[in-house]
Symmetry: C2
Subunit: 371 residues, 2 copies
């Protein structure tokens, strides 16, 4: 493909202003993205994939910092459930993040300094508006599908509500139409952990090359527990001790689950910006699709003719199946076509990121049904 | 009562050595405790109440730092379910804590300095051994009952396993016979939050009068979420905003659940020592009563002739009902008399601390049955 807009490691500066739910605007917004597969001449085979809180545009390409495969390489690629032999897949880094799209670590053109905490608080809908501007840039009027898990599912739900004409089908996996008090509480713990770290310096840590890693690691550890099921943790770790085989009667990591969690915290800070963590968790906590539509979730879907596919996992206690059911009820009330399946998995919320043959079949079948 | 050993605000220095599961010993161990009611001439009406992680000996008396009523004032007192008109109730601060019993904040007699992290890692059984030495001091050979919720329930379970001759009945509320991987994980997040705070200074913060309050507050916030049910949080807070009625598009506490959690964290650091939090959570994580008895929980109960009463709450996801069922199965296998009830409550794990008429009736009836 000669069109330089398509391919891996692409970046665009959006023309004009991005209008934000908080009342302000952002100008010169950069969006980092990648595409896989060829856009059909009629543009009808475009699929937008929306990423979760700490993920990025590398849905199907090696992550430049970790060297790991794309976060959904089992789902996206030639011959995969989201088949890039027949589709053009687009995945962009959300605004507020730290993998190339404009976020709190970006330079504020008006000051020449990083935004830090002067970056505006953004919403899930703001992320979606930026994605729509990216599609304008790519010349894609209408998506065959928007697909996302977790926070990606929130964006996927927001798409038909915000741009009802621009999306023909919606896949929402392990997600919710609003953050509950418990969801907010866990995020608030994480934010407080970051902000309690003296190295956070009110968000102005960029010039010091010494970010609030300890606080961000604690935030990640707390969040990580919510991504796994109690049964999955028990199956994987139980009360198994580290290799030295006996309790140390100290505060080193005695139990395998402790060293696993510490590793999760430490490896996260190498790839993620603390302020981005604050802003994106805030966007998720603010998310309440019903509230944006007069308090009735069904209203969010009345303007759209899209088909919907909802998937939940039985051991996901972060966004349990009941949250997907709420969405399905609202879709039914709005007269939308909706298929819904609860899959069985021991892996809790994180199941959607793993190679799950049943999930793959559901997504593949749903996309084929819309052909 | 003229006997100065009995009453409120009592303290004793235990004679001799306290032998610890970790292999070491502690000498000159101080135990802060209180008693309510008169000990019968035959000593047969003594009830030991064991407290939870952040509680203390003030089961039925005003807390000296917070000015709040005793933490179980609804359960313990004249005419209450644990009736101090007819019983002598003893409640002591566990070793490792910070309300008067020897813990990491106490002076190490061998150095004249606070123990800090040179304090030995202790276990639930060590706490129970110290309680037995307190009973020796009080001249109480055998308890009519040992009663505890949460970590207090762990001690209550450990009593008949450690001193089978010294306890005639056991009440275990909202507790477990072992910490799961998820329980350990949440505690590890809390410990990492404390130790990530630069003011922790490797535990040597006592001389600076500037404790690691921020880290401890984050630890408390994370733990507090596990004490409440998702449904309870939703009922109490839902997505309700603070008084200003609209989202602030900033990082102040917008949602009521956020300010509630922040308050929980901040008020906790005024009354609790960070190192004590490390040591007591460690003791709970190490707790596995089966492991102490050849890997078979029933073995823990074979030497005892005590009657058991187990109570769980249906919305407690920290120590869910299944954990109580495990204990009851082991008691049955050991041929012990055990009654068990799961109570319905919207309040999650914390239900045992609240005035719960059904719980009160169960405890009162069980204690009367043993008269």
């Amino acid at each position: 493909m000669d069109d330089q807009r398509f391919g891996l490691a692409r970046k665009v500066t959006l023309p004009g202003l991005l209008r934000l739910d908080g009342g302000g605007t952002l100008s010169g917004v950069e969006i980092a993205y990648e595409t896989h597969g060829q856009l059909a001449p009629d543009g009808g085979n475009a699929i937008l994939i929306c990423h979760a809180l700490t993920m990025d545009q590398h849905v199907g390409s090696v992550h430049p910092r970790t060297g790991k495969p794309g976060w959904w390489a089992a789902m996206v690629g030639p011959g995969k459930p989201i088949d890039t032999d027949t589709h053009c897949v687009i995945c962009s880094n959300v605004i507020g993040s730290c993998m190339g799209s404009t976020g709190p670590g970006s330079i504020d053109p008006s000051t020449g300094q990083p935004y830090a905490m002067t970056f505006p608080v953004i919403t899930i809908r703001d992320m979606v508006r930026a994605q729509a501007m990216l599609l304008d840039h790519l010349g894609i009027a209408t998506l065959k599908a928007v697909v996302g898990g977790s926070m990606g599912g929130m964006q996927a739900l927001s798409w038909p509500a915000t741009f009802p004409e621009r999306v023909r089908s919606v896949v929402v996996i392990a997600s919710t139409a609003r953050h509950t008090a418990q969801n907010i509480a866990f995020h608030e713990v994480g934010r407080q952990a970051v902000m309690a770290d003296p190295k956070w310096r009110g968000g102005d840590y960029y010039r010091h090359d010494d970010p609030p890693a300890a606080g961000l690691a604690v935030a990640r550890m707390a969040a990580h527990i919510t991504y796994l099921s109690e049964a999955g943790l028990t199956e994987k770790f139980g009360r198994k001790l580290q290799a030295r085989q006996a309790k140390g009667f100290g505060f080193d990591a005695d139990f395998q689950v402790e060293s696993y969690l510490r590793h999760q915290g430490l490896s996260f800070v190498d790839r993620f910006d603390a302020n981005s963590y604050l802003y994106i968790t805030r966007a998720m906590d603010y998310f309440d699709l019903a509230e944006e539509h007069g308090g009735l979730l069904a209203n969010a879907f009345r303007q759209s003719a899209a088909r919907f596919c909802l998937v939940s996992f039985d051991t996901d206690w972060l966004y349990p199946t009941i949250e997907s059911r709420h969405i399905v009820h609202a879709l039914n009330a709005a007269g939308r076509a909706a298929s819904f399946v609860e899959l069985s998995s021991p892996y809790g919320h994180d199941a959607f990121l793993l190679d799950a043959p049943e999930m793959n079949r559901v997504v593949e079948g749903f996309l084929r049904g819309g052909a």
